[in-house]
Symmetry: C2
Subunit: 394 residues, 2 copies
């Protein structure tokens, strides 16, 4: 009666959600202060004051019918221009509003690109560890997701494994840097190697392999690390962006896709993005927040909190004996679990009211994700539990 796959996807809550709900239940038993919940990637730093100010300004000064009315499907023209200019200022690119397509957040950006590209028999490639919804979105188009196993020593790209997975059916490759869940930023060396290989294989196969850059964490990068802007390295790149993390408004669902003018057959590419948005029922991105995003483009929430959190957690955990690649961005730490079975390890952690997510969910067993977009004070209080957990394995 119902589409079986949809029932299955809707019944099976993600592991992350399960843990989060457990935390809420446990909080009612022992008090919120005694639960160390590192499960969700929901920014705890509030949106900058300018977001609130801009909302109030728009609502109190603009004509309501126009402000809350439909924008064109690809987004308001002024909004797209302003955002293009902001990207150009930051990255030295040369986009105009016509390169932008406003979306209902990063998930929509990705779904639109997948739908725009996917044809019968196509394969997409992601690098582990990766955001588990990629598989849901890609398979939703009828295409297949191939996963390159992680290089667990650096969480850069495992090129040997990648090369064997590339084949003429490869339509696109998904890159997520700064990465969820590892927090690692792909170095320029990695990007150069990746794009050289993609150019070579595109040539060999006689059709482009597209790069899809999922970058909601772009601005959350520490220690002055460079996060390469991929259109500058590879013409056939779709940039999928969201303001969820940079402006701490993941619930408002606002983002965009960049289709660079240098992309092969640009006009068809942009049309395919528009067509995909139409088929998926997006109509237009939320109108008020299109304007807010444009006005606040280039600003961020107080990201320094994440850096402070990373420093405390990384330093303390490695001191306790945990093994962890030092993250340079996003708000995740992805240490190895202290036993091979990350699920068993997370269960032990749970007995200490320490809520972590097993890496199995990100196609990277033997690791756990710690989302440190939480109060610094909670991190400080949680350290004793991390220490107790380590002791269990000594």
């Amino acid at each position: 009666m119902f589409a079986e796959k949809m029932v299955e996807l809707g019944s099976r809550r993600s592991t992350i959600r399960e843990i989060f709900e457990f935390g809420n239940k446990r909080a009612t038993e022992v008090g919120r202060d005694n639960i160390f919940d590192f499960s969700l990637g929901n920014p705890n730093v509030p949106a900058p004051q300018t977001v609130s100010d801009e909302i109030v300004r728009l609502v109190t000064t603009e004509d309501a019918a126009a402000l809350h009315g439909y924008t064109s499907a690809q987004g308001d023209a002024v909004v797209r221009s302003q955002i293009a200019e902001s990207i150009n200022r930051t990255h030295g690119t040369h986009f105009t509003g016509d390169n932008l397509y406003m979306t209902v957040g990063a998930a929509a950006s990705l779904c639109v690109c997948f739908k725009a590209l996917a044809e019968e028999g196509d394969e997409f490639i992601a690098f582990a560890p990766y955001f588990p919804e990629y598989k849901v979105f890609v398979e939703g188009t009828g295409a297949k997701l191939q996963v390159v196993p992680a290089d667990i020593d650096s969480f850069q790209i495992n090129f040997d494994a990648f090369e064997t997975l590339l084949n003429p059916k490869t339509k696109a490759v998904i890159v997520n840097s700064p990465n969820n869940p590892s927090g690692v930023v792909y170095s320029e060396e990695t990007i150069l190697k990746l794009t050289a290989l993609l150019k070579e294989r595109s040539e060999e196969y006689g059709h482009p392999i597209y790069l899809i850059s999922d970058e909601p964490y772009r601005e959350i990068a520490f220690d002055g690390v460079k996060v390469p802007y991929l259109t500058e390295y590879y013409d056939n790149t779709f940039v999928c962006y969201s303001y969820s993390k940079s402006l701490s408004m993941p619930g408002e669902r606002i983002g965009y896709v960049v289709v660079p003018g240098e992309m092969e057959d640009f006009k068809a590419a942009y049309a395919a993005v528009c067509g995909a948005g139409r088929v998926l029922g997006y109509v237009c991105a939320p109108a008020l927040f299109q304007r807010v995003a444009a006005s606040c483009a280039g600003q961020t929430s107080d990201i320094s909190v994440y850096r402070k959190n990373r420093d405390i957690l990384y330093n303390e955990l490695t001191r306790m004996g945990y093994t962890c690649v030092k993250p340079e961005g996003a708000f995740y730490l992805f240490p190895r679990s202290l036993e091979p079975d990350a699920n068993a390890f997370c269960e032990k952690a749970k007995s200490l009211d320490l809520l972590l997510v097993p890496g199995d969910d990100f196609a990277c067993p033997g690791h756990v994700r710690i989302a440190y977009c939480v109060k610094t004070e909670m991190i400080e209080r949680s350290l004793a539990a991390f220490e107790k957990l380590a002791q269990m394995y000594r």
Copy 2:
């Protein structure tokens, strides 16, 4: 390289958009006041003041991280409860928050239902005249849309034609009342006959045929006409609602799906809706506007303007000799074109700077849609052009 169908859908602007863009261009030539643009269903009546007030209140008093944070995928629990209560108060239903799934507007509500239901070989049925995106959305799931020709004397359902289209592959039937583009409200008699037939055929085929009620115009109904609430007549009904028209905020993309508890296998049905939302990348409906919708549920913009517009247009056009079923809701008039070819008729209208949409787009040739969600004063000024147009055919 790109999905062919997506390129096609993204390249071909809808007729309505074409006409609208023509109007904008023409306005720069002869002045906005000299163009009578009846092409778009974008409400001209502003959102009620409470919408603005509520936005400002939420933004200035609530914690920004929580306010703009993710809600659960099906929508904030408090929001869903409040909306369920509001529906119950108005329609005597008995929903709880667990019957509601918040969406990114009516298009998303529809896409989610289609995706939740569509299996290999399924057919959906719509009644002409119908909103043309139904076809795009249904075909986007791989299913087929069958169209019942219009009963042009009443724009109620053409049951003879409908009966011949129903077959064991029929998964669901889409109803849109008050109707876009005819403005007609399906009578209780129509609904009783429709639901009796669906019950009979569900029994005969051994599986339910679902009813999908697309009702963004529910509150825009005149002369005290009753708009039957379909879950009260038929258990296997999905209600697809949007606040776009009732609160004049189509750009904000906020609506919901109701899955009534009486639906066969309710749990699987609700799960399928959640799974479909997940696959389509919706994540959650815009968080701020979920709260605004809940606070303003039951209120509407100043609908009396639409009634006034209908009265002027209907009375004047019929007086001039146009043939038109009197609309009892929405903000559309759907008269017959004065020659069989509605496209040719619209071209003649265009020469008078009168912008109408040919009925062919709504699977109903020989008619034109007049969207009267415009300033009353423009309608008054347009009457001379309608008169001139009629004279061309005398």
